[in-house]
């Protein structure tokens, strides 16, 4: 009777207090994030209730109200918030509890109070289940942190610290598991079948599974740590090397390519390009090549009418063009003077006589060019004789010193015509 009344009392208070969590969820969550509760956000009455329910507490007079660590852990667990989740195996405490419960169970059984014994067995089962679920939770949390690369912290240094913390948790858990002495548990259970099943076979199976998982996660944590450390080292290396190179702009390391043993990093062969071309020396390929040619895309569109394109016109500097025209005009005047018999035969003499300022060389070029540009018939009427001499006795180059332009006598005209 007392027991059922006690149970119903627990049920009532427990339900009320759990409801408090829901009722003030926003305020409590705020406290989870900011450490202290905003006392102005809820009534004094509510605060009293929350403190009585052991949800909030005030560490001392100067400090504000804070969440109790059990509530904090609960929220962290529900949120899978790896930065707050705690690993607190405390196996020794559980073992102590199990000891007591087994003793109480055996005493009740010896007294013949089977109802009480049954209750103790239930409590024993719960303790074991709690223990098992706590361990599973911790291990899950460790795997989660591993698989997310400690994504809940951003800097590499924090990751390294978190990894160290996780590894300590793993060793504490492993140490805790080592405390479980199955020989002692066998002794404790004596001949009781159900107890032996609970405390020995079931627990042993669970513990060995946890043990394996922990060992695995430990190895992986170490690997991850090595990776973090490597990243950290590389990052530092880049930083320091670039500072060194900036400070020593003339830095010249040895020529590693000239060593007997060239380090493989510096042995990077020159690229070779592989080319191939269509070859017709194998008759079998001819058909394929012909096909390929046929498959070439045809030129699209019609050929442009030639008239559509205007002749290429080189932009000519106006001044140059004017001078060229003037030169041509002067040479034409010379020709006319020769034909009229009013000019000396020598082109240079004419240049001097008229006091024209053309360079003699240019003048001679233009006189010769003009002669060559004449229609054939007129060319025959005007005789152009070059006054030339070999440039040296060693080659065939001849230098024109002057040219003589003369109108052929009329008697030769018929001949010429």
């Amino acid at each position: 009777m007392t027991d059922s009344r006690l149970t119903s009392g627990l049920l009532k208070t427990g339900t009320e207090r759990l409801a408090l969590l829901g009722k003030h969820a926003a305020v409590l969550m705020q406290a989870y994030l900011t450490d202290e509760i905003d006392e102005s956000a809820i009534s004094e009455q509510a605060i009293k209730k929350l403190v009585a329910a052991r949800i909030l507490w005030r560490p001392d007079e100067q400090q504000g109200l804070k969440l109790r660590h059990a509530v904090r852990d609960l929220i962290a667990e529900m949120l899978v918030d790896e930065s707050r989740r705690q690993v607190n195996a405390d196996v020794a405490e559980t073992l102590q509890q199990l000891d007591n419960q087994v003793m109480a169970f055996r005493e009740a059984q010896n007294r013949g109070d089977y109802l009480l014994a049954e209750q103790f067995q239930l409590r024993l089962t719960q303790t074991l289940d709690d223990f098992n679920s706590r361990l599973s939770g911790h291990i899950h949390s460790l795997w989660h942190r591993l698989n997310t690369d400690f994504g809940f912290v951003s800097s590499l240094n924090d990751k390294i610290r978190e990894n160290e913390r996780a590894q300590q948790q793993i060793s504490r858990l492993l140490d805790g598991l080592d405390l479980i002495d199955f020989d002692r548990l066998i002794e404790l259970t004596q001949t009781s079948g159900p107890l032996r099943k609970l405390l020995v076979s079931q627990l042993q199976k669970q513990v060995s599974a946890h043990y394996g998982s922990l060992r695995e996660v430990q190895a992986r944590m170490l690997q991850l740590m090595a990776r973090f450390r490597r990243q950290q080292a590389s990052s530092l290396l880049v930083h320091r090397m670039s500072r060194f190179l900036r400070q020593h702009p003339g830095f010249q390391p040895g020529n590693y390519a000239l060593r007997t043993q060239v380090p493989v990093l510096f042995n990077q062969a020159e690229p070779l390009k592989i080319h191939a071309f269509a070859a017709l020396d194998r008759s079998g390929d001819a058909d394929i090549l012909a096909q390929l040619v046929q498959q070439l895309p045809r030129r699209q569109g019609q050929a442009l009418a030639l008239t559509a394109a205007s002749p290429v016109h080189w932009p000519q500097d106006e001044q140059v063009a004017a001078r060229q025209q003037a030169l041509k005009q002067a040479v034409e005047d010379y020709y006319l003077a020769v034909i009229d018999g009013q000019a000396p035969a020598s082109a240079l003499a004419y240049l001097e006589q008229k006091q024209l300022d053309w360079p003699p060389e240019i003048w001679l070029f233009q006189v010769i060019a003009e002669h060559q540009g004449l229609p054939l018939q007129q060319k025959r009427l005007l005789a152009l004789v070059c006054e030339e001499a070999p440039a040296s006795q060693w080659n065939e180059v001849r230098i024109i010193a002057d040219v003589h332009l003369t109108l052929r006598p009329a008697k030769d005209w018929v001949h010429a015509g």
Binding site: L237, P253, A257, L265, N267, Q268, A269
Partner: protein, 207 residues
């Protein structure tokens, strides 16, 4: 063991084969028997397959180091050394711009647009980009931040440090050649006994 023509061709053309640049080829090269077969194939060309210590990337090296090979390697070494500082600066710049404290690693995704965005509002970052882009290695003639960053990415792609999976998308992947760069400076540090261990340069030693 399979001998893949295209893979050999890529290797001969001077490509670095890694997980990012050529996943299939990389897998083939991880197999020692395949590497031996390719080595046998390349031997008459005085070439062999080489890798970095961690085997995260493969490339072609000379078998015998004759005079002309050594000359080529010396020349290459000169080019590599002159590109070291701009490359390291770039690596640090990316780290800073993207607010990360780990180095770039193969497979990281980089977007020039994101880079532009971060540098636009940050004067010091912007100045550093400008300085870096005008370095002879990147050789940007432009004054516009956007085209400076584009030029930096283009050069890094040419040099094999970045891969642009789609020519029409401005998204780049970091290749394992970054590992090569780190190996390179680590080697130089060890070989030349560079005093890189302290945060402050050791002045006493120089006095």
């Amino acid at each position: 063991m399979t001998l893949s023509g295209p893979l050999i061709e890529r290797l001969l053309s001077g490509a670095f084969i890694c997980q990012v640049t050529d996943e299939d080829g990389f897998r083939h090269l991880q197999d020692e028997a395949t590497r031996e077969a390719i080595d046998a194939y390349l031997k008459p060309l005085n070439r062999r397959v080489a890798s970095n210590a961690d085997q995260t990337l493969f490339f072609v090296a000379y078998v015998h180091l004759d005079q002309s090979a050594r000359e080529q390697l010396s020349q290459q070494l000169g080019i590599t050394l002159s590109s070291l500082l701009p490359l390291l600066e770039w690596v640090q710049l990316v780290q800073e711009a993207l607010g990360r404290d780990t180095l770039l690693t193969a497979g990281d995704v980089l977007k020039p647009a994101e880079f532009v965005l971060k540098s636009e509002d940050n004067q010091s970052l912007r100045e550093r980009v400008q300085l870096l882009a005008s370095d002879r290695f990147f050789n940007s003639q432009s004054d516009a931040l956007d085209s400076q960053i584009k030029q930096i990415f283009r050069r890094l792609k040419e040099q094999g440090y970045l891969l642009q999976p789609h020519a029409d998308k401005q998204v780049y992947l970091v290749t394992s050649k970054i590992d090569y760069l780190i190996d390179l400076i680590r080697f130089i540090r060890d070989e030349e006994n560079l005093p890189l261990e302290d945060d402050e340069p050791q002045q006493e030693g120089l006095l």
